[in-house]
Amino acid sequence: MHIAAYYEFFIQAKIISGNKAMEQLPVELDSYNSRKPFAIMSKKIAKSASGKKFIKALYDSNVIIGAMYDNVPDYASISMIKELAVLFRNRGCDSIIVIGDGAVMDVGRGVNILVSQKDDDLLKYAGKNILKKSLKPLIYIPTSTSTGYESSNLAIIEAREFSSDFLYPDIICIDPRITVKNCSQCVAESAMVALTHSIEIFAVPVINPVTDSYALASIQYIYENLEKAVKRSGNKEARLAIANAEVMAGIAFSNSTAGMAHSLGVAMADSTGLSQGVCMGILLPYCLEFMLYKKNTIRDILLFAIAGHDVYSETPEDERIQKSFNMLHRFHQNFKKLLPQTFEQVNVPEYKMTEAALRAAGSNKKLMIDDCLIVLEHAYHGKPI
């Protein structure tokens, strides 16, 4: 294993995960001298009893919840952030707890910027590394449909990017009572995003063993648990495992660079309106095969992550990558009922694929338009490369 000549790695968050995890929060908050958190919940999970479970977990502690706002929609708006900041200040809160995934975390981060900087102008802080000092403690309680960006240092509010190490959450609290509630479709899609992020870590030329560790754990969690997690019965343990995987993939991804499947997947999702999970799930095997065809290095530790000790060691070295791809294809096919297997199945018109290729090559300097088009064509028909 050849370590990169230079790399950096950072994750601010402490992860607490498992049985009665939320009950540990009061003591954690106490270590930040916080007694009055401000809770922000996404509308999606407010409908389930998650809010009540969260409050019950804080029973018998000295914590008072300053306010619980449970109406965050699928996008973060500056006006909502400003109003929430006012409420935060009125109630004298001293930390923020975000429950849910996606935009609600951006809202939480936005509110944190305003209340910590004691300012009203959010856009002043847009850009890279504009924030100069640490913000109030931020706690993130994910569900099992986390996109991975929640554990990173990036917030996207009204199409403006806010990027800073101070935006990392301080604690990520993964509790089975919160992660169990989601539709199977959503879980499968989010897991595909996480899987894509983690697997592409092993296709990156710069070897960062710390990022590798998070990616390895994430892939193992998904492979062993996704099928159980999407069965109708809503398996608590399996859903918890998927939430863990998504958090770890997010951490690994935020310390790495975007790969082909990620960039192309995001571009296709933007062009077609399909979810990122669907697009990345279709594209991942083809992108990997294409990279192999172009003689890029893909590390064979990927097979270990997917298949475990015995299969990895019994497969001859020169067959490991191909075996990983075969297993990946079969794994994706297990979710035929929830996830389309090719773009043809969802009737994506050709001009959209061209648009996506252009977009992807534009956003990721390492990609060539022709390469993207080749991969998209194979992904459309389901033809191996």
Partner: protein, 425 residues
């Protein structure tokens, strides 16, 4: 994979690794709003010229860094006295941050100094235990010069109160340094014997983290890569000290092992190792390398599938596949003993393979047989045994120590077996 019902994982240290990583120091200090660091190190490190490399790297263009003071008088065992002394130096020179360059003892000292200068007061004893440190400390950069103790990513500092002859434990997430810098120049000239000892220390951390009660998927994956990196590179680097890629690999392995065990705790090996260190003043790494196979044997009835899995990163895929399933755990233990044997040869006999072989500078035996019962007694006071999968009493400890003294593999039938196995899934 092992899925615990509950786990916690925190590795809140920014890691920068490379062959010229030190040059990033001015940028890092600026981001932490610091300009005047106190450099804490020991005489061995400064004599090896490593401090000059560090201060040289701090003088990059646009660097506003001005070194407050270089304190290189840290003794081999960190003490309350040196911590109090250096805290006064920090205040007198108007420093605003600490850069610690060294192994375990300077790291612990630096953590202790940071407690005093950030939280106030003159007496470190006020902050001992697990609940006393309640807010963020001043900026600290950790630069390890061994590979290693992993202290650059642990939340613990062990500092001796010389007046009462007891080791004080300070535990808090706020003790974690802000940044850890792994630069191959820092370990390039590490002597063979210390490379071997600290390398085996790191592999012990990883192996114990993989087999003890608080294990979790992240501590497992970091342990996996740690074992793989160290196993692949340690012997090579001891034989070819100038291999800087190998040195960087070992430092990475050590930091991964540090992350792993600091989140999943350790067990019998550290329990006995700490006791041997306390009674006979044997360096930590030597104790670890000898005791590791014994620790794995002692817990074998509970952790054999896990020990078997470790054969893969230890010996590689071919050996793993060629070994029948039932024999893999034993083979892993044999492999570690073989590593100790190879290192014994490569270091010209200085790397000890059993307790009776540990010699001091004057070639005197450091662990006489009659100290074993005192060591077993001290080991009953060490917290590491709580996380060991099997119960360890005075009698158990003494038995293991006797076998480790003679260098004979543990007779598994003599190990008392407790009932419940939390590690079986």
């Amino acid at each position: 994979m092992f899925r615990p019902k509950y786990y916690e994982f925190c590795a809140r240290v920014k890691i920068i690794s490379g062959h010229r990583a030190l040059e990033k120091i001015p940028e890092i200090l600026a981001k932490l709003n610091a300009k005047k660091p106190l450099i804490i190190t020991d005489k061995g490190v400064s004599k090896a010229g490593l401090i000059k490399v560090v201060t040289g790297a701090m003088k990059g263009n646009k660097s506003e860094v001005k070194v407050g003071f270089i304190a290189d008088n840290v003794p081999p065992d960190s003490s309350v006295k040196i911590v109090n002394e250096l805290a006064q130096v920090y205040r007198k020179k108007g420093c605003d941050s600490i850069v610690v360059v060294g192994g375990g003892s300077p790291m612990d000292t630096a953590k202790g100094v940071n407690i005093l200068v950030s939280l106030g007061g003159d007496d470190l004893l006020n902050y001992k235990g697990t609940g006393a440190i309640t807010k963020k400390l001043n900026p600290m950069i950790a630069i390890p010069t061994t590979s290693g103790t992993g202290s650059e990513v642990t939340l613990v500092a062990v500092i001796t109160d010389m007046d009462r002859s007891i080791k004080l434990l300070f535990v808090s997430y706020f003790l974690l340094p802000d940044v850890a810098i792994l630069d191959s120049r820092m370990t390039e000239t590490l002597p063979k014997f210390i490379t071997a000892a600290t390398g085996m220390d790191a592999i012990t951390h990883a192996c114990e983290a993989y087999t003890c009660l608080a294990k979790n998927p992240l501590s497992d994956s970091t342990a996996f890569f740690a074992i793989q990196l160290i196993s692949q590179h340690l012997l090579n680097v001891v034989k070819n000290p100038g291999d800087i890629n190998g040195r960087l690999a070992l430092s990475n392995g050590a930091i991964l092992a540090g992350m792993s065990f600091s989140n999943s705790m350790v067990g019998l090996v550290h329990n006995l190792g700490h006791a041997i260190g306390a009674v006979c003043h044997v360096p930590h790494g030597s104790c670890m390398s000898i005791l590791l196979p014994y620790g794995l044997e002692y817990n074998l009835h509970k952790t054999s599938p896990l020990t078997a899995e470790m054969l893969l990163p230890l010996a590689g895929a071919k050996v793993y596949a060629d070994t029948p399933k039932k024999e893999r755990a034993e083979k892993a233990i044999k492999y570690i003993r073989q590593m100790n044997d190879d290192l014994y040869v490569a270091t010209g006999g200085r790397h000890a393979r059993c307790l009776n072989e540990i010699l001091d500078k004057d070639n005197k035996q450091m662990v006489p047989r009659d100290t074993l019962s005192a060591i077993a007694e001290v080991s009953t006071l060490d917290g590491a045994k709580i996380y060991n999968p099997e119960e360890v009493t005075y009698d158990d400890a003494l038995m293991v120590l006797e076998y480790a003294w003679e260098g004979k593999p543990l007779e598994l039938s003599k190990v008392k077996k407790g009932g419940k196995n939390y590690l079986r899934q």
